[in-house]
Symmetry: C3
Subunit: 291 residues, 3 copies
């Protein structure tokens, strides 16, 4: 029975992403691009720019990991089959008469299927990134974590940067001031797979891939169904935050010093406004805790 289970997970871990899972990933990415304000107008005025942005949405993680390892960022263009696939999906998504694709995509089951399959590709990307980085730095487990994270969730960073260069950057959507849930779960997966790769975790890779993928898909689909945006890690993060960064006592005992300092900063420069509000928010949260 154990062997049968192993066979199952082994077969799963050997599934090829190529035709179907990649299509789902490209579809979800291009749809996310299309629902950005003004994306359709850009596609009509300048299809080349829209195509370029779509490619960044589809291959952003790979590009970022290439940059971090000093490999040609254009490498993804050498894989003609995937480029053709992504381009055709971009084409039918944006220029299909009367938005047939969008109307088909607006059905919830389709969205759930596509989102679930996209999460499967995430696992493969993380594993690929970790293995790739380990070929550069034999024991550089921090590098492995970073590259796995970048390939798994770096697409948002690349697209945010592209929006910044294009001038249509929205600072609310900053990826590294408040980590989104996908970024967090990808970081977790990257850490796990790095530990497995460096033999700190005594579990076979295919089992780990199976379980992690199941976890990804189920959480994603439940979050889509319950339309909740609260992360399952919230409580865990809170405990960790208290343990490591001792928020409470720092604020309870030395709150005045911080207030003085931050108010001083407030007068110091003009850019500190939002951060000050945030710090006040944090303070409120924690004083509420202490009560």
């Amino acid at each position: 029975m154990d062997s049968a289970w192993d066979e199952l997970t082994l077969a799963f871990s050997r599934t090829s992403m190529f035709p179907f899972f990649d299509i789902a990933h490209y579809l979800v990415s291009v749809m996310a691009l299309k629902h950005q304000p003004g994306a359709e107008a850009v596609a009509l005025r300048n299809p080349l720019s829209s195509w370029f942005t779509a490619m960044l949405h589809c291959f952003g993680g790979g590009i970022l990991s290439c940059v971090l390892l000093a490999e040609p960022p254009l490498r993804f263009l050498a894989n003609h089959t995937n480029i053709l696939l992504a381009s055709s999906i971009w084409y039918i998504t944006f220029f299909c008469p009367c938005d047939l694709v969008c109307q088909g995509y607006s059905f919830l089951p389709v969205q759930l299927l596509a989102a679930g399959m996209k999460e499967v590709t995430r696992t493969w990307k993380i594993v690929g990134g970790v293995t790739h980085a380990s070929s550069y730095y034999k024991n550089g487990w921090i590098v492995m974590i970073a590259v796995g994270w970048a390939r798994g969730a770096g697409g948002t960073i690349v697209t945010n940067f592209e929006q910044l260069v294009k001038g249509s950057w929205k600072p609310e959507t900053e990826e590294w001031l408040k980590l989104s849930y996908p970024a967090k779960v990808t970081l977790l997966g990257s850490v796990i797979f790095t530990f497995q790769h460096t033999k700190y975790l005594s579990i076979s890779k295919h089992n780990l891939m199976f379980f992690y993928t199941i976890f990804l898909v189920t959480t994603k689909i439940t979050m889509m169904l319950t339309k909740t945006s609260v992360s399952p890690f919230a409580s865990f993060e809170d405990i960790l935050g208290r343990m490591l960064f001792g928020r409470q006592q720092q604020f309870s005992t030395c709150g005045k010093k911080n207030e003085i300092k931050s108010s001083f900063n407030g007068t110091g420069s003009s850019t500190s406004k939002p951060t000050i509000d945030a710090s006040d928010k944090v303070k409120k949260k924690h004083t509420k805790k202490t009560e």
Copy 2:
């Protein structure tokens, strides 16, 4: 006679860019920099920064193609002769007493000669980029097109990015929201030379270089003489846009849906304002067509 013709084009394709054509390219680039608002003040306050910007203007395309192929962006600094040439041109352009260079450059024939010679260097850059990329990716013709394009017309992207980092970015001059004419013609040339390189085009390289350069120079000089900014490809692009992206019928049949969507976007976010206006413009243009 055919052999004589071949000899001519072969000799042309073997012309060395080094002393004179490079000088013309540097002169045009530095002049474009000097005519930017405030460039002279920067040159007086901080010559080093002005020199750095001038180098970016002169070698931007090469730097971008190096970045895209993960080669040292500083490589251009190892070519001391060209650096010295460009630096001296930057020096006499900015610090020649009483602007003698600018006054000499203000004569139309000088400008025409310099611009024509700069266009010649463009051909050489595209060919160099395509050949260079093919040494990395044997059959990656998309990469060849991208690198040839980057080396031929990437200077504007690099300088725009530098202005963005310096804080003096003008979003109107965005290179990939509305492709400038040089960008378009360079893309065309990059595609042609890539097809020639991958043997899809059965024409000898020196003939192609000759014809493409003639085309570049003539169009550039006619555009300078007639002060027209309309691209020769406009009608061709329009036909292509209708064929590929079916603008008309999409707008005639499903116009309402788009309007609703775009108005929704308008309320959705603050950044969508310009794009919405643009989409309205597009809509007007096409409704005019349909009338």
Copy 3:
């Protein structure tokens, strides 16, 4: 006696930076980060982002030189010991109860010691950068200067760029519009060590390192004690500026042309406002000189 002197400088030039000087460098960098407005609030809301920024502050120069030489920017993550050291210093600096570290650092002697040791690491970084670049480009002395400069003083550029991407960029702190004193002195050192490396300077490297470090430390400490921000090179720069860029006569003879041009620029675009003011300032300064 000469041999004794040589032995001393040789022993000095072989001092290992690892435990103590690196600690001082990390401490000064993290303190500079902590005194930025809102840095503490970010550290509480999102420790990961704060840690990343701290790493950029500590290893920025190395990252920039890696990028310039097309090496993996993540390489610094493979050096686990230094990462651990910098991370622990970041941790005790930000999360030590009641800011014990800050209070200890607020004593002037501690600051002087840390700043002096940080300047020592600067010499080692410049030498390392020059040697590293010379392994790529045998005679590319411009590249050596650039890489040495980047590794010695590039941290500010990296952190400024990170602030730009984060949206909290302060254009006043631009590093290449008005070079800060550390940038200037690092450039000087990079030039000197490049000349020494390319045998244009007939002085042994360990002597040069000794003298340059003494110069760095003394100037830094005197500037900290006298709270002066005027650069020792000011007069030298002024003479050089007059010799090379003939500011005076250009302004005295052709001042009107410039005024007309700049006023034209003022109407030309919206971004030219600050630069115009600056040019006016320059003009005033020089007209004062000519009077």
